[in-house]
Symmetry: C2
Subunit: 776 residues, 2 copies
């Protein structure tokens, strides 16, 4: 067809999408404007966002053309916050919406439903959410679109991820850093990301920075980020269509060239500068609206009560000439649909956006080859994360061909002692290398960048497109992605309720370099609160594991790598840790999630006191306290309970892993004192157990926000979780110890003082602490 | 003096700082190398970071020169994570360290103490922390240096903030966005920020992105950010000194020109490319160390056990020729100290870094002119944040001259209905404007940028340099700065313990657009968890307020704006809210923090049930439930308790605001059922009250992570916190209601269903909900 025809079709498609988007914001009824608009046709509450919509529709329509012409797989990522109307309109038009929601078919009835459900109670939100087909990216919180796009492109060599970045979003930190993602993308093994920076000039009430800096500054910035920008700027639809088509063809040609060459590419990108609220009312009540921040939400706000507004709305809607776009039954006319791709090529139907469809089982080596032999409990030591690194190395090897596993970290993979993975794969890196560099390769599947936001965002994009992965991070700094975690957990919560969304691999965190081992970092690096943060999200989504040693870590990690639709948080130290459990014991203990360590205790089923622990440092102290109690109060019946799966502590009504009361009572007794040494902030244990029979007897030790640069044992003393303090806690709570109590308390107190003094004099822990092993 | 002499002095000063930094990492004793090094002189645990240190020392020494020559006030911000050794060395050298720590004087004894305390139990951390004089920026978590620098420069027209940005830090999102800070800085009314991007090439184990991209790309990026970069690149000290001096003189001249011209400036910046671990051991054990990632921490790791390492260390230390730098008593030689500025001009002594020294009382108008008259409780309505906006307008006016109050927000000031402030000041903005823009001015004291990170970081910088401010933010998205809040709270926790640090104004958050009012945003915008996050930090630092109406919000805000050294979190809706309390009642109620609303209840001091509430939406529902109970069970004695200051719920042993048990029992009774409607996640109330007598009877309703796009009342129904549900809760818990109980329960259930159905049909709440007022 001729160029002019081409743009006519694109324009018609664009008008159809614009009409459908505006209709969603305003219309309760009369979707085809069969009769003149009356207030009764208008929604009582006008909620929605018009501003970004026409630009998104413009990009979508043009992408449709190139998808059809080039048979290209494209995943569309909608960065602008409230692009819901646009994506709902387009997926309805192309039919992918109706495929998943048969109750919203492509006819007048369906159009009415589409309009009515939008921003309506029980309906769909104004931003792109999990219920929008073709999406892997929530348009609520801003900043993560480009990171998601890079994550989606990794190991998808034939995929083009078209990512519209809003100029509001572009002001956020995570987005500003995400441009660098292209420095990791391998043109051979990975797909391409095409950023489309959409400058519509305004946020909610302010101009945007990138829309207002001079052209040469913007151009330098984007080139500085490593891109070659092409500009599509204007407001005349005909000119803009021609320009966009020309640019898009050029960009697709460039990408084709990049995919076939091997030099570090300069990736193309597009800058689309178009009016905010383009094609909407240009002026309302005497003030300009189109092209200003006033278009952000609802350009005409008083439609129900203000006849002039109603008239303007009707005029606006009719300006799209709906009668040319939809037939008498409200179906998009076949000639319009000529532009839409077919089947899975429709951006709303790409399986990449419903990653569970593409998900393959991760090939796992099992834990046995990496586990440590434990001839006698607690007498040997190993570094848990180092063993995990060896297991992950094998995961990389086994999945080298299917290339669907990645490890992300903010320059901490080696620091967290996972560096065995570099025997199987490299750190992905496309820019210059030096002879002293290690493990940098163009096609590596470890991504290290000093941005927790990027690590998290890229992993999310990778998982939601049907792959597997792990994010390793210093515990304290995981808080940097608190809000991203929130959004991902919310996404999964909604995703799980949508029957057409297939399960995806869980998002796995390994928090290492944790609060108890910040010997040379100190207070700023001491924060175990990510667990608390995670606990607020839906119980069906979140899981927290605190493996106490190497074999339990392996077992937990193996489990997490197999799981689906969860967020798994694993907290594990990297330092030498006693091997408490052999491989089989560890597997059994982790399957149970919590259990009595009979070999450690002296209770014979009827304890005087329960010493409970969750986390590696607390387990060590509880074991040492148990040993001290055996020595000093040999007739005391001590039970040791270790908790790996924190969710087990909750009632079964609160969490699927929750323990029934009977089981909880069997572990923790209904009435005996429980001294609970916990990895994080103590009150979390109270939160989880406050409904239990024995709650009043549970005394929790943990991190109480006292920290500094000091030795591991001193940290325990400062936070009252050291072995001596735990013994004192027992002595204080178990009745009937007689005069031994006071003596033992004094002796323990003396030990604490002695250690504290030694540490401050010598700068390290006493050898009896450093070399301590379980003596029984 | 001649150029050569000038650089000799700078070089000597630099060597002295390098010597002192290396000494800190290694030496337990023999600080002046009076005798050959032996293992006994070496610390048992070598913890510290050499890599970034010499570059920082280089910058510090050169800044000293220009400070002396130009009598310039300079605040030094140390971006690189572990710059502790450098700043400790420099402040000790110039004497500002000893001013604050007389036990670490400038002599051999002091030098030994300086060395020994570093990264030593009970000593000082390896990053710049509050205990380092001259610092407002913790070097633990990365990404915020430049935002802090801009915050410090606002309204400090004579100040130059020299901000060293590490190339690791430069990969973070917040830092990547912070470059744009210069687009707000007013050359006339604000100070200058001089970014010094320090490319030493490596993070912990990886090269950095910015050090490895081609020069033209880096240059374009920095120009794109709006700067004119000057480059100081190399490894030969003599050449580098000359180049740095030339560049620095040029930059200072440029800044002087900018301050006196009025066009939008192109701000200068410096790129310093120097080897990581510069002047340290170039090769160890046959592998290169200087100039590689191996210099990141301790270049020679085996000094105590490896005689070759010991030899290399001694050779390295002696290479600085300490005998030329320090006299026989370990005092820096006077000719060295010639370079150091005097008095407050020393960067370690600038009062800007100990902002409390400069802090003036904020001039406050009092709440009375902005409060609403309440002739009858709960019968009129107002928008709380709108009233606060009027009060803040006056704060801006009253402090227009002293210019020490600012409002920060991510483009939400108007959305949060604080826009009255624009009658007194503008939104600061130095780049292009259009006729349709509103309130943009070059010298405005409202900063709006769509980056919560920037808002938080700039406010922190502003506060720590002795000014006042408020950050207004959507509640859900405050989680974006969780980790920044952590670090600021930790900073304040440490700062409060340092006698020489003067109190600063509190960091005030106003969380509006909260979880209960996201009518057109939905699930992604619904998250009240920031309060939970805040609760983990030190009790002496954090405060949380939930004012239920306009007058209480004003009272709380007035209190927070007067407070010092805290983080205050205020959660308040922006929508029409019943005016429960008159101005005097509100002031009294807020002073108490929690209290019985006698006028609302029917208990006459002896209730059958307590209805408690915290937050505006919960208060509304509790009041409506109380009214329903009056109507349906007139003989039931209901007590209404409202909690404004959440910390009051804790035991007095846990928080300075905590209530004694007796007082708690007096409010909540020792044994009656308590139905507690709470703004956020319900279990927080359990956490705060689990030690109270009546805890087992406290039944909490709150947000249970059920959200969607719907009406305000539907949100309450979905989360079981609506008035009808609260009545059912009462009926279920108060014994002796007889057959009325079942009837009322059924009636309430019918009401819930009726509302839910209506909402889903009509898209809005029933008028009886929208227009409800307190009928008694």
């Amino acid at each position: 067809m001729s160029a002019s025809n081409r743009f006519d079709l694109v324009d018609a498609y664009w008008r159809a999408a614009n009409y459908l988007a505006a209709g969603q914001i305003y219309l309760l009824d009369n979707p085809l404007l069969r009769e003149p608009l009356t207030p009764a046709h208008i929604k009582p509450r006008l909620l929605g966002h018009w501003g970004t919509t026409p630009g998104l529709n413009f990009v979508y329509a043009h992408l449709n053309r190139v998808i059809r012409e080039r048979d290209q797989d494209v995943l569309f990522v909608t960065g602008p916050g409230h692009g819901g109307p646009a994506l709902l309109a387009n997926t309805w038009l192309e039919g992918s919406y109706g495929d998943n929601y048969p109750e919203v078919p492509r006819d007048e009835h369906g159009m009415r439903t589409l309009f009515r459900q939008f921003s309506f109670p029980g309906g769909v939100p104004s931003h792109v959410a999990p219920d929008v087909p073709g999406s892997i990216h929530e348009g609520g919180e801003l900043g993560y679109s480009l990171a998601h796009a890079f994550g989606a492109a990794f190991d998808n060599p034939d995929l083009l991820v078209a990512c519209v970045v809003g100029d509001g979003e572009a002001e956020t930190g995570p987005l500003a850093a995400s441009w660098h993602g292209a420095k990791f993308l391998d043109p051979v093994r990975d797909g391409a990301v095409l950023p489309i920076l959409h400058l519509n000039g305004y946020k909610i009430a302010n101009p945007t920075l990138l829309a207002r800096i001079p052209h040469d500054e913007l151009d330098a910035l984007l080139r500085g980020y490593g891109y070659v920008p092409s500009y599509v700027e204007g407001d005349d639809p005909a000119e803009m269509h021609a320009r966009m088509a020309e640019v898009l063809d050029g960009v697709l040609d460039d990408l084709h060239h990049i995919k076939t060459s091997r030099a570090r590419p300069k990736w193309p990108m597009i800058v689309l500068r178009s009016p905010k609220g383009w094609t909407g009312p240009s002026e309302v009540d005497g003030v300009p609206v189109e092209g200003t921040w006033r278009s952000h939400q609802v350009p005409l706000a008083g439609v129900r009560d203000n006849p002039e507004h109603l008239r303007l709305l009707e005029q606006w809607l009719r300006s799209y000439r709906p009668e040319e776009l939809f037939d008498d039954q409200g179906r998009p006319r076949p000639e319009i649909l000529e532009l839409a791709p077919r089947g899975d090529k429709r951006m709303g139907a790409t399986p990449h956006a419903n990653g569970g469809l593409l998900l393959r089982e991760l090939r796992l080596p099992g834990v046995r080859p990496y586990s440590v032999e434990v001839a006698k409990h607690g007498t040997t030591s190993s570094e848990p994360t180092r063993a995990l690194g060896r297991m992950l190395r094998e995961v990389f090897t086994l999945n080298a061909e299917q290339r669907d596993f990645r490890l992300f970290g903010p320059d901490e993979t080696a620091s967290n002692r996972l560096d065995a993975v570099f025997e199987a794969t490299g750190k992905q890196w496309q820019i210059g290398t030096e002879p002293t560099d290690e493990h940098l390769t163009a096609d590596g599947r470890v991504v290290e960048v000093l941005s927790e936001h990027l690590c998290q965002g890229m992993l999310e994009g990778y998982l939601l497109t049907g792959r597997h992965g792990l994010f390793n991070c210093y515990e304290a700094f995981t808080h940097i992605v608190d809000s991203m975690f929130n959004q991902h957990a919310k996404w999964l919560g909604t995703h799980r309720k949508l029957p057409w969304r297939r399960p995806v691999a869980s998002l796995n965190y390994l928090l290492s370099s944790h609060v108890w081992r910040q010997d040379h970092n100190g207070f700023s690096h001491q924060d175990p609160g990510f667990i608390d943060h995670v606990m607020n999200k839906k119980a069906e989504v979140v899981r927290v594991y605190l493996p106490p040693d190497t074999n339990t870590l392996l077992s937990v990690a193996d489990h997490c790598l197999r799981s689906r639709d969860h967020v798994n948080v694993i907290v594990s130290g990297k330092n030498l840790t006693p091997d408490w459990l052999g491989p089989e014991e560890a597997a059994l203990h982790c399957a149970r999630g919590a259990g009595i360590w009979e070999w450690a205790g002296t209770d014979d089923g009827d304890p005087d006191v329960v010493l409970a622990c969750a986390g590696d440092a607390p387990t060590m102290e509880v074991m040492a306290a148990t040993a001290l109690l055996r020595e000093h109060v040999p007739d005391l019946r001590v039970r040791v309970v270790n908790v790996v799966d924190l969710m087990r502590l909750q009632p079964e009504t609160e969490h699927p892993h929750g323990m029934p009361d009977r089981e909880f009572d069997a572990l923790f007794t209904p009435d005996k004192p429980v001294i609970f040494a916990y990895h994080g902030y103590p009150w979390l244990i109270h939160r989880l157990t406050y409904r239990r029979t024995n709650h009043d007897n549970i005394h929790v030790r943990g991190y109480k926000e006292v920290g500094t640069t000091t030795t591991p044992f001193d940290m325990l003393v400062l936070n009252d979780m050291d072995r001596y303090r735990l013994v004192i806690d027992v002595v204080d709570r178990v009745p009937g110890l007689g005069p031994r109590a006071a003596l033992l308390r004094q002796h323990m107190q003396d030990q604490r003082t002695r250690h504290h003094t030694y540490i401050r004099e010598h700068g390290e822990d006493l050898p009896e602490i450093r070399d301590w092993t379980w003596p029984y």
